[in-house]
Point group: C2
Chain length 478, copies 2
C-alpha cells in the first residue's frame, strides 16, 4: 500500500494529488471511472476529509478529474485524449459473466482486515501464526534442495504427495485408497468448485446443511444449483429429510461436513451416520463429505470420516491442510472413483494447469516427517486452550446474553445472541471497536447468531476482543 | 504407478488379480464400473494379453468382476453387497456439468506422455529441464528461510511479488503500472479462465486469432462464447476484419498473442499494431493481450507488448513465468483497471482461495535476483540453438515435404506438410515410433499443419525425433 510521507516538506494534499495522478495515468482508473468518495479516501489514508477535498480540487484544476453533484468524482474523459466511447466500458464487463461476487458481508470483512490488520480477528477461519507449523516447514525446506524439474505437473497432482496421502489417509482417517484415486486441489475450496462446476448442471437440486459453510459461497448459485436445506441440530443433520427432498426435488447430491461442522461445531452422531448411509445408498445418491476439521478433536479420539465406512462407494471425500497445518500452502485433496478423478483433473487442467510443485513437495515432506504428530498434538492442546479462553470471556462479559454448545474440536464457536439485533449494525459497531466476526446469516441462519473463530486471534487478544464485542452489543440493545 | 514385480516368485497374472482386487475394494472402481479392456490393460502393464485374460478369469471366479460379451468387463454389483441402484451412477455425474473436457488429441497426447515418459516430446509447450533456472531457484530457496506466516493470501496476490512485478514490467515490458493494478494468477491459463468466466456471458461473441492457442482450450466453448476468426498471416492478424466482425456479430473482446504467436511464431507488425489500436479504440473494444513469449526473442530486441502503448486503457495484459522460467511455478499475472482486478480477485477467491505463498515468494526473489538476466540471455541463446537444430533436421529429412517460416522467438515452429495426410493417423504413426507433436487442427487450422515445440525435447533427441517423424509421414504417403 502507498503511504503518505508525513516528514517530507510536501503538503499532504499535494502528495495525494500526485499519487492519484500517477495511478490514473497508469490506467488503474480509466477515463470515466468513479473515484472513491472524499470521505472514503480520507478514511483509507487516515487524513482529514478537507485534505482530500484540496487534493481533488487540484486534480480538477488540472482537468484530470470531474465532479458532478450527485454522481461523484470521475476521471475526466477529455483530458486523456479519448472521447468516452474510446475506452471500453469496463464497469459493464466487471458486472458481466455468470459468476456471482462474494457476499457483501464477506467482502466488507475482507476489506476491513486488509485495511486494518490490527483488528482483533474472530472472522478468518484459519490458524493463528503460532498454531501453524511455520518453524517445522522452514526447517524441512532448508534441509531439502529443490532442484527437481519444474514442468507442468501431472494434472492429478504430484505423485509423491499422492503416495504420502495414501498412507496419511489410512493412518489418520481410516480410509483405504490408492494414489490413482486421489486428486490434489488448491484446498477444499477448489474441490467444492470442481464438483459444483463439473459434476452438476444448472438447474440441478442439491441438499446442504443449514447452517452451512456452503451458504457463504455464491459458487453454488453461480453454478445454477437449487439449494435445499437439511437442518443441523446437536447430532448433526437429520437424514430422514433426505428422502423427502429426493422425492420432491430429485436432489442430485448431498453436501455435508460431519466432523466439527462449520459453523456449528457439531459432530454427526453414529446413529445418524447409519441412517445417512441407508437412505443415500437406497437412493443411489452421492454424498460430498468435507472433512477439514476431523483431526482437531481436543480430547476425544478424532471422529472418523463417513468415507471410512463407505462400502457402497457413495462418498466423494474432501480433505485439506488448511485447518491442521497452514491455509497458505493451498493443498487439499479429493478421494473419488477413477472416472470422477479423471473428469475433474481434466477440467482443472484447463482452469489453471494444476498446482505449483513446490508446496506439494513441502506438504508431502511434512506429513511424512517426524514433526507431524507432535505438531498435531500441540495444535489440539492450543485450540482447546483458545476455545476455553473464548468461553470464559463470553461468560464473563455476556453470560446473560449468549448461549452456545462448546465445540469439542474445530476452529469455531457458534453463538446465539438473546437480544434481537441487526446483523449488519452489530458488525458495524464491532468494527468501530476494532473487532471482526462473521454474522450468522452468512451461513444461512436467521439473524441472532454469530460465528466466533477462536483459532485465528492472538491468545492475548481474545478477552479484549470479546469485551469490545460486548460493548458493541450493549450499544445496540441499551 | 503400480508396477509388476518380475523377480518375485508370484505369477504375473496373480499379481495383477491381487492388485485389481485391492483397487476395486478401495472404491477406485465402484460396483458396476467398466474395467480397461484386456488389450488396453496388457498394453499399460507391458504384459501379454493372455496374462490379463488369466487375471480377469481369476477375479471372475471370485465373483468380483463380470464379463458380458459386447459390453466389456465390469465390477460386479452383487459381490459387494449392493444392488445396482445402491451405488451412485458415477459415470452420469462424470458426463454432467457444463464444463467441456479437453480435446481428444490433447488427452491422447497427455496420456501417451504419462505412460511413456521416454517419448521424444515435440508437443509440450514448455522449457526442457536444462533451459529452466532450476539451479538458480534451488540456490535462492536455500538462501532464504521460509518462516513467514502461511495464512490465506491476499486475494490479489502476494504483495512483494506484485511490487517486484511493477519494476519487472517497467524494465522489461515498457509497462507502467502499480501493484494495485496487478492480479497474480496460476499462469496465463487461469487469467484466460477468469476473463472468459467472469467478464463475458454465455452467448457473447469474441474474436480470436486463427490459428490460435485458444482453439485448444474448450474453456471458451464451456463459457458459452461464440468464437470468430481473425486469420493470422506473416504480419499477424489483420485488424480490418475486427470492424466487420463487430458490425456483424457485436464481438465483445479480441484475444491476441502478438509476440511470437502460439502456434505460428508470428510477431504483429508495427503497422498492424497501429491499426489495431485505431479500430479497437474507435469501437471501445477491449483487447486481451497474452504475452508469454516476448522476452524469448533470439537475436533482436524483444518486441514490446501492445500494453506499453495503451493510451486509451483498452488492453487487459496477461503475463507468465511459464515460458521464460518454469511452468511448474504456476505464476502468471494480469494488468487491468482496478474494477476488473477487484472483480476477478473476488471470483478467484471463491474458486481456489488464491495461490500458495511459497512459489510467489520464490518468483519474487528470482526476478529481483542477479540470476535473472543471465538466465534470460542463456535461455535465448539455447532456444535459438534448438530451433536451428530442428530446422536442420527438417531440412535434412523432409526438405521436399515441409514448408515453414523460421520463428525469431518463442518455443514453437509451425510447419506445413505438403503431402495430404490424416492428422490422427500421422499422430498414431509417430507415437508408434516414440515421437509426439501437436496436430495443427488443435489450433483451429485445416489439417496439413503440425506444431513442433523445440524447447522441450532434449537437444540430443531432436534429430532422431524428426527422423522418426519423417518415417511416420512417409509410411502414410508411400
Ligand atoms: C467446511 C469448510 N470447507 C472448506 C473450506 C475451504 O478451505 P480450504 O480451501 O482452505 O481447504 C473451509 C474453510 O473455511 C471450511 O470451513
Ligand atoms: C499463448 C499461450 N497462452 C497461455 C498459455 C498458458 O500458459 P501458463 O498458464 O503456463 O502461463 C500458453 C501455454 O502453452 C500459451 O502458449
Amino acid at each position: 500500500m502507498w503511504e503518505l510521507d508525513r516528514h517530507s516538506g510536501k503538503p499532504l494534499y499535494e502528495q495525494i494529488a500526485d499519487h492519484l495522478e500517477q495511478r490514473i495515468s497508469y490506467g488503474e482508473f480509466p477515463p470515466g471511472s468513479l473515484l472513491p468518495s472524499e470521505r472514503k479516501l480520507a478514511d483509507q489514508l487516515g487524513v482529514n476529509r478537507s485534505t482530500v477535498i484540496l487534493a481533488y480540487a487540484e486534480l480538477r484544476a488540472m482537468g484530470i478529474i470531474e465532479s458532478r453533484s450527485g454522481s461523484g468524482t470521475r476521471v475526466s474523459t477529455s483530458k486523456w485524449g479519448a472521447t468516452p466511447k474510446h475506452t471500453p466500458n469496463w464497469s459493464r464487463y466487471a458486472e458481466g459473466g455468470s459468476f456471482l461476487p462474494n457476499l457483501p458481508f464477506m467482502r466488507k470483512i475482507r476489506e476491513a482486515l486488509n485495511q486494518h490488520p490490527s483488528l482483533i480477528d474472530f472472522a478468518s477461519g484459519e490458524l493463528a501464526a503460532d498454531l501453524a507449523p511455520m518453524e517445522e516447514i522452514a526447517e524441512l525446506m532448508s534441509e531439502h534442495r529443490y532442484t527437481s524439474y519444474l514442468g507442468y505437473d501431472n494434472p492429478q497432482g504430484y505423485i509423491p504427495l499422492r503416495q504420502a496421502l495414501v498412507s496419511y489417509l489410512n493412518t489418520y482417517r481410516g480410509i483405504q485408497t490408492a494414489e490413482s484415486s486421489i486428486l490434489i486441489t488448491s484446498g477444499s475450496q477448489q474441490s467444492l468448485y470442481l464438483i459444483t462446476q463439473c459434476l452438476l448442471s444448472p438447474g440441478d437440486a442439491v441438499a446442504i446443511e443449514d447452517p452451512s459453510y456452503c451458504y457463504s459461497l455464491p459458487m453454488f448459485q453461480s453454478a445454477g444449483l437449487r439449494l435445499f436445506r437439511l437442518p443441523v441440530d446437536q447430532h448433526g443433520i437429520c437424514p430422514d429429510d433426505i428422502r423427502s427432498l429426493y422425492k420432491k426435488h430429485r436432489i442430485k447430491m448431498v453436501f455435508t461436513n460431519p466432523n466439527f461442522q462449520n459453523p456449528t461445531g457439531t459432530v454427526l452422531s453414529a446413529e445418524r451416520r447409519k441412517q445417512l448411509f441407508e437412505v443415500t445408498s437406497e437412493l443411489g445418491l452421492p454424498v460430498v463429505e468435507d472433512d477439514p476439521f476431523g483431526l482437531t478433536a481436543f480430547e476425544d479420539a478424532p471422529p472418523m470420516p463417513l468415507k471410512s465406512m463407505d462400502v457402497n462407494g457413495s462418498i466423494l471425500y474432501i480433505g485439506s491442510f488448511s485447518k491442521i497445518a497452514a491455509s497458505g500452502l493451498r493443498i487439499g485433496w479429493m478421494v473419488a472413483p477413477r472416472s470422477i478423478v479423471e473428469r475433474l483433473a481434466d477440467a482443472r487442467q484447463q482452469m489453471d494447469f494444476g498446482l505449483s510443485v513446490i508446496p506439494q513437495q513441502v506438504a508431502a515432506q511434512f506429513i511424512k516427517s517426524a514433526y507431524f504428530l507432535p505438531h498435531l498434538e500441540r495444535l489440539r492442546t492450543q485450540l482447546h486452550f483458545k476455545r476455553d479462553l473464548l468461553i470464559e470471556s463470553l461468560q464473563k462479559e455476556l453470560a446473560d446474553l449468549v448461549t452456545f454448545t462448546p465445540p469439542r474440536g474445530g476452529l469455531h464457536l457458534w453463538c446465539h445472541l438473546r437480544p434481537q439485533v441487526h446483523d449488519g449494525k452489530l458488525l458495524e459497531e464491532s468494527l468501530k471497536r476494532g473487532v471482526v466476526f462473521v454474522p450468522g446469516s452468512v451461513y444461512g441462519s436467521d439473524s441472532g447468531f454469530v460465528r466466533f473463530t477462536y483459532a485465528r486471534a492472538k491468545t492475548e487478544n481474545i478477552g479484549e476482543g470479546i469485551s469490545r464485542f460486548a460493548e458493541a452489543l450493549r450499544e445496540l440493545t441499551s
